[in-house]
């Protein structure tokens, strides 16, 4: 079935990254403008939902209406609270300030899994830059400790360019897009088993993005999952390879569907609308597309 990409907002001329469905509207991150906007499908209009986000990219809801955000300009995860305030749970992993959080997902235990590549040029002002970057670029996890305080843990030890992350509906698998778009770089969609003790086991590769004489086939960026556990991923570009695409992978890595995106550099995807039956797709040039009734329904633990 061919998808109809409906341009509901943009292009802004700058990236739209994070996406989070709030139950009746789609929140999306206008990163460079440090604002989270909200698309209301009923009113067919966009309004600011949160200002002064300091380059927040990935966003996702946790319990009680808390919106988690990857505040890349401040090198931390923030909790955007329903009363309009914003709080900081934890900023150090093994005693060190981490890099620039990029995309995140919240699991059913309200643990926040996020990719933490080093994009230090994007941190804002000297405050965040006082601290050197970590010696690694990993997936980190924020969780409440035994006394309800928050702590950060390093979860992957074999990534160097993590991007999109998603957790399977049964909470047993973490999907990670490892996307180094340099020649010779690793570009894989990986599945890490989440062990009973909370650590990650050895990953399997669901898909490898290649390269040829034309150049690199751009790896995956944002990910999301449907109720059956299939993984939806944005990848590709016009420069080389199969072009900008939305992929649907089975949990075993079979390519179930691909759909050409009518704009370059797709960045992120998330389900929204009634019964989470529509897919929203963003791009680096700031398109917000919607594809209605894709025949799948999204999985999200919150709201």
């Amino acid at each position: 079935m061919a998808w109809t990409f409906e341009l509901v907002h943009g292009p802004l001329g700058r990236p739209i990254g994070g996406l989070a469905w709030d139950g009746s509207g789609m929140l999306f991150s206008d990163i460079d403008n440090s604002v989270i906007l909200r698309w209301d499908p009923r009113a067919y209009s966009v309004a600011p939902a949160r200002k002064y986000t300091n380059r927040t990219n990935g966003i996702a809801f946790g319990a009680n209406g808390v919106l988690y955000g990857c505040q890349s300009g401040s090198r931390r995860i923030v909790r955007f609270m329903p009363d309009g305030s914003a709080t900081v749970p934890a900023t150090r992993v093994a005693g060190k300030v981490h890099n620039n959080p990029y995309f995140l997902t919240v699991d059913r235990h309200e643990r926040v899994w996020f990719s933490d590549p080093n994009h230090s040029a994007l941190a804002v002002g000297p405050g965040p830059q006082r601290f050197p970057p970590l010696g690694h670029q990993s997936v980190l996890r924020l969780a409440r400790g035994p006394r309800t305080d928050w702590h950060l843990e390093r979860m992957t030890f074999d990534t160097s360019a993590p991007a999109g992350v998603a957790v399977s509906p049964d909470q047993k698998t973490l999907y990670v897009a490892e996307s180094n778009n340099q020649r010779g770089g690793v570009r894989e969609l990986r599945a890490y088993p989440i062990e009973d003790d909370g650590t990650l086991g050895a990953h399997i590769v669901l898909h490898t993005f290649g390269s040829d004489r034309r150049g690199i086939h751009r790896g995956a960026e944002g990910l999301c999952v449907d109720t059956e556990g299939n993984i939806i991923a944005c990848a590709g570009w016009q420069r080389s390879g199969p072009g900008p695409l939305v992929y649907v992978f089975s949990p075993a890595g079979a390519v179930l569907e691909t759909h050409a995106v009518p704009a370059d550099l797709p960045l992120n995807c998330a389900f929204g609308d009634d019964r989470l039956g529509s897919l929203y797709v963003t791009t680096a040039a700031g398109h917000l597309f919607r594809i209605q009734s894709i025949g799948r329904n999204g999985y999200m633990p919150y709201p």
Partner: protein, 296 residues
């Protein structure tokens, strides 16, 4: 201590014998350097260390307050009370003579302030402070609420009666501020714009005729942050490579080269001829040729 001479007049301030003395070696981002003339003690804060310190020559240092709630700029008022730009605590507060803490301003027009950064007290007891959003974006130096609410970075005045008014609204990132010795002018630097503006101070405490005073230049590490004025009206402003000194007419006289990232400085010792320099890594002291403007 090294320096760059740019124009005549600087030799009255610097000399080849100047020595940079370490007052605190492990500063963890020091700020708020101010001299208490009543007790002969030097006060400063460590922002990451979350501690308000004092130091007495020949005695050493001790903790005044911990946590200091990530406080920033500090000065004394005419009653000898420490008046503090509370930065990550999002308020201006005062330490009363009995040690209790009194909040002087935390909101404006019903909205929470950004993060009060630096502060000065005029002879009539009014307080002027800058309110850029720095602590909202600084990892490891944040407070409880990091959401920004105000759509501008203001300079505010708290009247002697305690009423707060917005006196500058059109700067991008106002930071350091100080009066000229006769209090007819207020200098305010802008961290983002890399410049110092000067305003006429009216009798009612409002400001007028804001204009460019000096553009900070240089490619070394550093930026406009702290700003102070000496007793002859020369303006000292942090900038690339250390502390830039500008004559009252706006001419660049030269700079003191500081081997660390400088956040702020303050005058001290009984003759006001010492400059205490608050850096990320340490607090230094250096003796200069012209006394500074005394703090109350």
């Amino acid at each position: 201590m090294e320096f760059d001479m740019a124009a005549p007049g600087f030799e009255k301030i610097v000399s080849g014998e100047m020595k940079l003395e370490i007052i605190a070696p492990d500063a963890q981002v020091s700020e708020g350097p101010v001299w208490n003339k009543r007790t002969g003690e030097f006060y400063w804060v460590s922002i990451i260390g979350n501690t308000l310190w004092k130091w007495k020559p020949g005695v050493g240092r001790e903790v005044v307050m911990r946590p200091s709630y990530k406080a920033d700029g500090m000065t004394f008022d005419r009653q000898g009370r420490l008046v503090v730009a509370g930065w990550a605590w999002r308020r201006v507060w005062r330490m009363e003579l009995d040690g209790t803490i009194k909040t002087l301003c935390s909101h404006y027009d019903g909205e929470k302030l950004n993060t009060p950064n630096d502060i000065v007290v005029k002879s009539d007891g009014s307080i002027y402070f800058t309110d850029p959003p720095g602590a909202l974006n600084s990892v490891e130096m944040h407070g409880e609420d990091v959401q920004r609410y105000l759509d501008y970075c203001g300079v505010f005045r708290i009247s002697p009666e305690g009423r707060t008014t917005l006196v500058i609204k059109d700067m991008v990132y106002p930071n350091g501020l100080a009066f000229s010795p006769d209090e007819s002018l207020l200098y305010v630097n802008d961290t983002r714009e890399f410049l110092i503006r000067v305003f006429d101070v009216r009798a009612d405490g409002s400001l007028a005729h804001g204009r460019l005073f000096h553009k900070i230049t240089g490619t070394d590490e550093g930026m406009p942050d702290g700003l102070k004025v000496d007793s002859e009206g020369n303006v000292y402003c942090t900038g690339p490579g250390g502390i830039h000194v500008i004559s009252p007419s706006g001419a660049w006289l030269g700079r003191l080269k500081v081997p660390a990232h400088v956040n702020n400085m303050g005058w001290g010792d009984d003759d006001w001829r010492s400059l205490f320099i608050a850096c990320d890594t340490a607090v230094f002291r250096v003796r200069l040729g012209i006394p500074g403007t005394p703090t109350w």
